[in-house]
């Protein structure tokens, strides 16, 4: 692997509240190669969305980055001024959010939004920008793209809107897409279309995708590698097929076992007792230890480091590498 496109190193994010500073992300590290689709999976509150937002500098108050570095295309971006970040966001990093309605301006025609985005970042005149916009809409699978330029967001169905959002995200040929639960608000039959589209376009544009989702199925379909997050840390990272077929970290194993399968019957699903600790109530040591069937006293002493084995890594000091 050559120079990684994105390198997140020991990233920490905390929220300043009256109860003190709460660590939401604690030493999150991973890197992405050019053209790679990395899935970021975890339960609500694990910090997966926050990681995505931290990369593009969109952490809501009172949150702030409190440690670590984010390196993108060879330069640090975690300490950029907001104006520079904004430039980067539109041009080099595209974003796709769960609810397409929040990404589209309801009072502006689809075409105008696209043309405006393109012209803000690329040196094109109005006619050229329009041409590119139509091409993009065609690429994301909107039939009769030229006619759709004058449509309003509310005239589109959820799936169509998400297609437009993808077109917007791709408008300036970014090298990285951050897709935060891009299919969660959609019906299953439409979900499959959007996953396929995202995969195809990322390949065609040679863009990397950070795919944030809670749905292991979506990850399995779309991602090349997956990072499993738990309580603000990455607990396992590796090629999708490996992590799914032979999960290493006990949490990943529990997670996989708790997902009912379409193809096989089980009498009881594996269940992980309890729930993920809330942000202010995370235990010392391995945050998963209280729920873990394999936990030993030493697990509770210090946060386990990532142990590497080939392309895989997991933060567990008990389980041997598979």
């Amino acid at each position: 692997m050559s120079e990684p496109l994105l390198e997140v190193d020991r990233l920490g994010v905390e929220f300043v509240t009256r109860h003190g500073d709460l660590r939401a992300l604690d030493g999150v590290s991973f890197s992405m190669a050019q053209g790679e689709i990395l899935g970021l999976v975890g339960e609500s509150g694990a910090g997966k969305s926050l990681t995505g937002r931290a990369i593009i500098g969109l952490i809501d108050q009172p949150g702030r980055i409190c440690g670590g570095t984010i390196t993108f295309e060879g330069r640090r971006i975690d300490n950029l001024r907001s104006a520079d970040l904004r430039k980067l966001r539109g041009k080099r990093i595209g974003t796709i959010f769960q609810d397409p309605l929040t990404s589209l301006d309801p009072l502006q025609r689809i075409g105008d939004q696209l043309v405006e985005t393109i012209r803000a970042h690329l040196p094109l005149n109005a006619a050229q920008a329009r041409e590119k916009a139509i091409a993009l809409l065609g690429e994301v699978g909107l039939p009769a793209a030229a006619d759709r330029m004058r449509a309003w967001p509310h005239e589109f169905s959820g799936g169509m809107r998400q297609r437009v959002v993808i077109a917007l995200a791709l408008a300036c040929d970014p090298s990285l897409l951050i897709a935060d639960e891009p299919t969660t608000a959609l019906d299953v039959s439409v979900q499959a279309q959007i996953i396929a589209l995202l995969r195809r376009l990322a390949r065609a544009h040679n863009a990397s995708v950070l795919l944030v989702t809670h749905d292991m199925g979506v990850i399995a379909e779309a991602a090349d590698r997956v990072a499993v997050m738990y309580a603000g840390r990455v607990v396992e990272i590796g090629p999708v097929a490996d992590v799914i077929a032979r999960p290493w970290h006990p949490y990943s194993r529990g997670l996989m076992g708790s997902i009912p399968s379409l193809r096989e019957e089980v009498d009881r699903l594996t269940q992980i007792p309890g729930a993920m600790p809330r942000i202010g109530a995370r235990p010392e040591g391995c945050a998963y230890a209280p729920r873990c069937p394999k936990a030993e006293p030493r697990c509770r002493m210090a946060a386990p480091p990532m142990i590497e084995a080939g392309p895989r890594a997991a933060a567990c000091i008990v389980e041997p590498a598979p």
Partner: protein, 324 residues
Amino acid sequence: MSRAILSVQNARRLFDVSKPWLERRLSGEGRRYVHAVEEISLDILAGETLGLVGESGSGKSTLGRMTVGLLAPTAGHIAFEGGEVAEAARAGRLQMIFQDPFASLNPRWKVVDIVGEPLLARGGGGDVKQRVAELLTLVGLSPVDGEKYPHEFSGGQRQRIAIARAIAGEPDFIVADEPTSALDVSVQAQILNLLRDLQRRLGLTMLFITHNLAVIRHMADRVGVMYLGRLVEIAPTRELFAAPRHPYTRMLIEAIPDPHAPKRDRAPISGEIPSPIDPPPGCAFHPRCPLAFDRCRRELPKLIGGVACHAVDEVEPRTASPGG
């Protein structure tokens, strides 16, 4: 085969979504209705779990609410053990578990009052506190949790409270409407296991509604598939997943990403779900159906032998086994 405990006959439910009278007059528009449920007939057998699966706008939740009497059918009839649903509901024999455990528990009430309400409503004076403590233990909570308020619990724990409330009045029939959709997967497994255990222990009949095919496969004895307000296929779970007959069922099963058996780059279902205000004529699925032919655009297919599809009707009778 056991007897039908709940019987739905030609049930139909419309929702009036017309604009206000004056606006209608000015624009010359007529009234508009959402056709949430259209002429559905089905029986739920005593002791079984019937799964209802469908995407948004399929009418599965509306049908679920009709079976417990929260919504009245616009036309048709629903009978519980031969009597009126409303009557059975008043007697506390029908209960429901809702999707959002944050909205289904009154935030201003203590857990002991929430779970105890059905007991008090049925005049079960006695020791309500004692009984609530038993119920909380049964669903995997601690009796001391009774003194807390709902906001002190996580989503999964709240759903346990909702389950305790649902079984408190010892109902015969429970509708579970997307009970795990708002929960994380690891918690979902806990709730699904709990529901299955309780159902077996208490001999409950259950209508389990979800959009998640894997969940329904895990939970249901029989599955009904709904599309735009109509039942398009109904079959025993194993049969339905082994040999889905309706083209929509097949595509749906095909479309679900399954981490246990991932498939890449397959052809997804084309198109999106039409508006239930103005469903397509004939078979509502025909605009997205690869098998659609002329008759599908004109004529509504009837549910015959567990499937409502002209293409299946014309091809299958010679090949498929009758019944289903």
